[in-house]
């Protein structure tokens, strides 16, 4: 075979997606492949749709870009996140904390929640899950500490993500890129020369012509780089995101608080120096199209995604490929996955059929699976007239989703598909949070006596409570940690 290897990759777009991609590629590309970064100005405004909460996997993801946690904490207003507290959610006005947590214990081969379900049948209403989840209890009290290596204390089960502002992360990633000698060009696109699915070159407003073997288009939804015939799914709904920041003295809380409204939701995220307010409104559900308040940034968007984000020699990354409502950590989780997927599939020649097919397959799997999770926030009978609650952006009649819900409701089982972005714990917490009860539980959960079970559970609750009492409030922990980092590194 005489396929020429690729020599040049060009990444367009200076939003979070483009910056992540460049930083990651800079870390892993071998010497033979040149990387060009074209920073166009048009993209950052939709970055608020990445949301403000990251999953625990972001710690490793950032490490993979060469960015360590201390750097993030000291040069941005990033804070720790134990999850999201959902309030007045859905038609039943549910209220629960969806936290990050390592797997719950398994006794005698039976998943933990089956024991709670057993007790629920004995005395209904007495089997809430939250008392057994360390990270929820810490979130309730607004306390935080890093989980230790040692496995035998409740704190070790905590997992954490971050509260962050995309624009601040853009800055540290951009600074990181400056450390490597990547060619950076600040200019916008004037025209694109293509034949068929293939892009030959891109002409910039500064007159420069960029020819590359492979293009990464992180320019957002309206980009000239996106193939004019690219098919997309969704895009039936118009929503508005309103965003605002209010400063405070000390960090309040350790999870995002997200409250359902008549036509969407509104959230506050505690950062080091203030609260980020983000509201999502379904415009078709709004009685009158209320304009954003003073001091707010507002954008309109339509949740949607491309069927084939990778076409020919161009991959669309970020909001040009998919926009999802930042109700969960999905937007940032999926962006991370997009980049990891790209890195595993850096083309080896100008024939990119294998790479694009595989990328698109995994992309669709991941977004479908994330949609299942989002769908489970809505799959409750609603008598509301609001279009937000009645016709969510994800398909709630999807068979895979119905299978998951039916299995949980009928016997407390979490059906898993290949490489789902959300874990069994995430699902269990969500089902409990949504008030899904189960008809049956694993009969093997009956193999210990009720007294013994109650003993065990009460021990567990107590251990968690004692731990939570010992943990410092988020702001004190953060102040101590930053002081330590400063003393150590200057």
């Amino acid at each position: 075979m005489s396929l020429s290897p690729i020599n040049k990759i060009a990444v367009f777009g200076d939003g979070l997606a483009g910056l992540f991609a460049v930083a990651k590629l800079a870390e892993i590309l071998p010497d033979g492949i040149q990387l060009i970064f074209v920073e166009s100005q048009e993209t950052r405004q939709t970055d608020i749709l990445f949301g403000t909460v990251t999953p625990p996997s972001t710690y490793d993801f950032l490490l993979g870009l060469g960015i360590q946690e201390p750097k993030v904490l000291t040069s941005t207003n990033t804070s720790f996140s134990l999850g999201t507290h959902y309030k007045k959610w859905g038609p039943d006005k549910r209220n629960w904390i969806q936290s990050f947590h390592r797997p719950l214990p398994v006794y005698n081969g039976v998943a933990f929640h089956h024991y709670l379900m057993r007790l629920e049948q004995v005395s209904p209403g007495n089997s809430e899950l939250e008392s057994y989840i360390m990270s929820v209890q810490a979130a309730r009290r607004g306390v935080f500490a890093h989980p230790p290596e040692a496995k035998n204390i409740p704190l070790a089960d905590v997992a954490y993500g971050y509260h962050f502002l995309p624009e601040q992360w853009c800055q540290i990633v951009s600074a990181k890129i400056s450390d490597s000698n990547i060619e950076r060009i600040k200019s916008d696109i004037t025209s694109v020369a293509r034949h068929g699915d293939k892009i030959d070159s891109v002409t910039l407003s500064n007159g420069q012509i960029i020819a590359a073997d492979f293009f990464v288009n992180a320019l957002g939804a309206m980009s000239k780089l996106t193939h004019p015939d690219a098919e997309s799914l969704g895009a039936t709904k118009v929503m508005r995101a309103d965003n605002m920041f209010t400063a405070y003295e000390k960090i309040e809380g350790v999870c995002r608080v997200l409250t359902g409204t008549e036509s969407g939701w509104t959230s506050t995220t505690p950062l080091q120096d203030g609260l980020d307010h983000l509201s999502i409104t379904d415009l078709s559900a709004e009685a009158e199209n209320s304009a954003g308040k003073n001091g707010q940034r507002s954008i309109e968007f339509s949740p949607c995604r491309l069927k084939k984000p990778w076409l020919g020699n161009c991959l669309v990354l970020g909001h040009g490929a998919a926009i999802i409502e930042p109700l969960t950590t999905a937007p940032i989780l999926l962006l991370q996955r997009d980049i990891e997927r790209l890195v595993e599939l850096i083309p080896v020649s100008n024939d990119m059929r294998v790479e694009s097919r595989e990328y698109n397959r995994r992309f669709n799997d991941d977004y479908d699976h994330a949609d299942l999770f989002t769908g489970a926030f809505f799959a409750a009978k609603s008598d509301s007239q609001s279009a937000y609650w009645n016709s969510p952006t994800v398909d709630c009649s999807n068979l895979k989703l119905l299978n998951k819900i039916t299995q949980f409701e009928s016997r407390g089982i979490n059906v898993q598909y290949d490489y789902e972005p959300f874990s069994a714990e995430d699902w269990t917490m969500l089902h409990f949070g949504m008030g899904r009860s189960t008809e049956r539980y694993d009969p093997l959960a009956n193999s210990i006596s009720e007294d013994l079970l109650n003993d065990r559970l009460s021990q567990m609750r107590t251990a968690i409570e004692i731990m939570a009492r010992k943990m410092p409030p988020h702001h004190i922990y953060m102040a101590g940690l930053k002081k330590y980092l400063k003393d150590k590194h200057g």
């Binding site: 396929l3 590309l29 039916t406 009928s410 089982i413 898993q416 049956r440």
Partner: protein
């Protein structure tokens, strides 16, 4: 209502494995388990090579490994040696373990490909301790640190399936399973629901139950003869449809692996046990007669035959619904994939595990069966693709059968995998399924399907670092090998003097 009566029809490997697995779980929960088997009909009498998962099955039951090996005359299995598959004269071992170790998070085979494509003569097998051990007839149990070379591999067994069933029968009976001898001649179905209410034996005995597990072998007495569930025929992809099996005396040292040799119209297995060797020829009767197959088998035995050759007939595929109404089919009644990768017993185990997790109530909610069937279908589909890979990743075109495979249009799921591999050594992964990426690497490289390129990230490290790292892995593997005793000696020591 909860199920209180289970009837298992069939006392072959699947019947007794199911009885043991269920009695272990449900013995204390007021569930009665009855097993019916017919000595006259007997069992299929083959199925002696396993996958590492069997160890978890035994462990869950609390069966002691030494006792188990003594009783079933078992040997250790490090993998399967495939002869004459890629082309005549080739051979490779598919081990239960990884090749080398990832470097900077990138699978080792990419670095090996880099060496190869830059003109180094490196054998991937040299980076696999279980292959090296198998090649030199050595074995020892993996140590506790599974990151260490010499400990990061899996192993399975080769055993006498009749003796295994016997052991499980004893286990089951002490856990409350009642066994009835007799041939089921009639099934009583509820006229409305179609659920099976009872089976009637030749002597008139009537056995009622809420849940029936069909372990009656190829016949599928309940799932097919009674419920007419239907069969998905996969002979288009896996056309071998007959086998002839025979046991013979072993010659030479006891080997810790199974052998599968490709033949003109199928392939032949060799499974070494402590006291004898199992052999069989799996073939497509379109291209070879039964007599000729038997003749070829008998003329390649390593020692005198101990049994009469036994003829077996089958059709690859699976039941349209492995769980239908109140019947769950486990074992050959549920489906059959040729034993090229010793998957049948594993699929039995998967069936038992899924049944326990999805254990129904007397109202038999459709959702339970649907989820069970979804999982098992996925298992079967994925094994099918992996088996088919052996027949199509080959240069062989020397007989009609091999030419048939060369002309075949592959299932898309397999074609995609092979394309991604061939172009860049990329492996399409899945989470649910038996064969993990290293298995795919083993078969594809073993059968000369070599990628044109590799992950560009593997170029990040310098030549010197690469050579140092690979040398170190090889050195460690060889060092571990030197510490490893002969399989026969290890086994004798491990299980005590009763052996042989």
């Amino acid at each position: 209502m909860t199920i209180t009566r289970i009837c298992i029809l069939g006392g072959g490997t699947s019947g007794w494995m199911t009885a043991a697995g269920l009695s272990n779980k449900f013995n204390d929960l007021g569930v009665s388990i009855a097993l019916v088997e017919s000595d006259n009909i007997g069992t299929v009498g083959v199925g002696e090579a396993t996958l590492p998962h069997i160890r978890f099955f035994n462990k869950t039951l609390g069966i002691d490994e030494r006792e188990f090996m003594r009783e079933t005359r078992a040997t250790f299995k490090l993998g399967i040696e495939f002869c004459d598959w890629g082309k005549i004269g080739d051979s490779y071992i598919h081990p239960f373990g990884d090749y080398g170790e990832p470097i900077d998070g990138i699978d080792f085979h990419h670095f090996w490909l880099r060496l190869l494509q830059n003109g180094h003569k490196a054998r991937l097998d040299d980076f696999s301790y279980p292959i090296l051990a198998a090649e030199s007839g050595k074995f020892q149990l993996p140590g506790p640190n599974n990151l260490e070379i010499g400990s990061n591999f899996g192993y399975a067994y080769q055993f006498d399936s009749g003796l295994f069933a016997k052991l499980l029968r004893r286990y089951s009976e002490t856990h409350g399973v009642t066994r009835t001898e007799g041939k089921a001649v009639q099934t009583i179905q509820n006229p409305e629901s179609g659920l099976i209410e009872a089976i009637v034996l030749e002597d008139g005995t009537r056995i009622e139950a809420d849940l029936f597990i069909d372990c009656s072998g190829f016949r599928g007495v309940l799932i097919e003869q009674a419920l007419n569930t239907g069969y998905e025929d996969w002979s288009e992809w896996l056309p071998c449809n007959r086998a002839v099996a025979v046991q013979c005396e072993s010659a030479g040292p006891s080997l810790p692996y199974t052998r599968a040799t490709a033949r003109d119209a199928g392939w032949q297995w060799r499974i070494p046990l402590q006291h004898r060797t199992g052999n069989g020829y799996v073939y497509w009767n379109k291209y070879i007669s039964d007599d000729e197959a038997t003749h070829q088998l008998m003329s390649t035995l390593e020692g005198p035959a101990l049994t009469e050759p036994k003829q077996l007939y089958f059709k690859t595929g699976k039941r349209r619904k492995l769980w239908n109404k109140n019947v769950v089919s486990i074992g050959l009644s549920g489906g059959f994939l040729e034993p090229l990768e010793s998957t049948s017993i594993h699929l039995i185990q998967e069936g038992i595990t899924a049944l326990i997790e999805l254990f129904p109530d007397t109202d038999f909610q459709e959702s339970d069966a649907r989820e069970y069937n979804r999982r098992m279908d996925l298992n079967f589909d994925r094994v099918r693709d992996f088996l088919l890979l052996h027949y199509v990743a080959t240069q062989r075109d020397d007989t009609e059968m091999w030419r048939y495979f060369r002309q075949m249009t592959l299932p898309e799921s397999l074609q995609e995998k092979m394309d991604a591999w061939s172009s860049r050594g990329y492996l399409l992964r899945y989470e649910q399924g038996v064969f993990l990426p290293p298995s795919w690497v083993a078969v594809m490289t073993g059968q000369n399907l070599l990628p044109n390129s590799y992950d560009p990230r593997a170029n990040q490290i310098s030549n010197k670092v690469l050579l140092d790292k690979t040398m170190a892995i090889k050195r460690d593997s060889l060092a571990a090998l030197r510490q490893t005793p002969d399989h026969g000696d290890f086994l004798a020591n491990y299980i005590g003097p009763a052996h042989r």
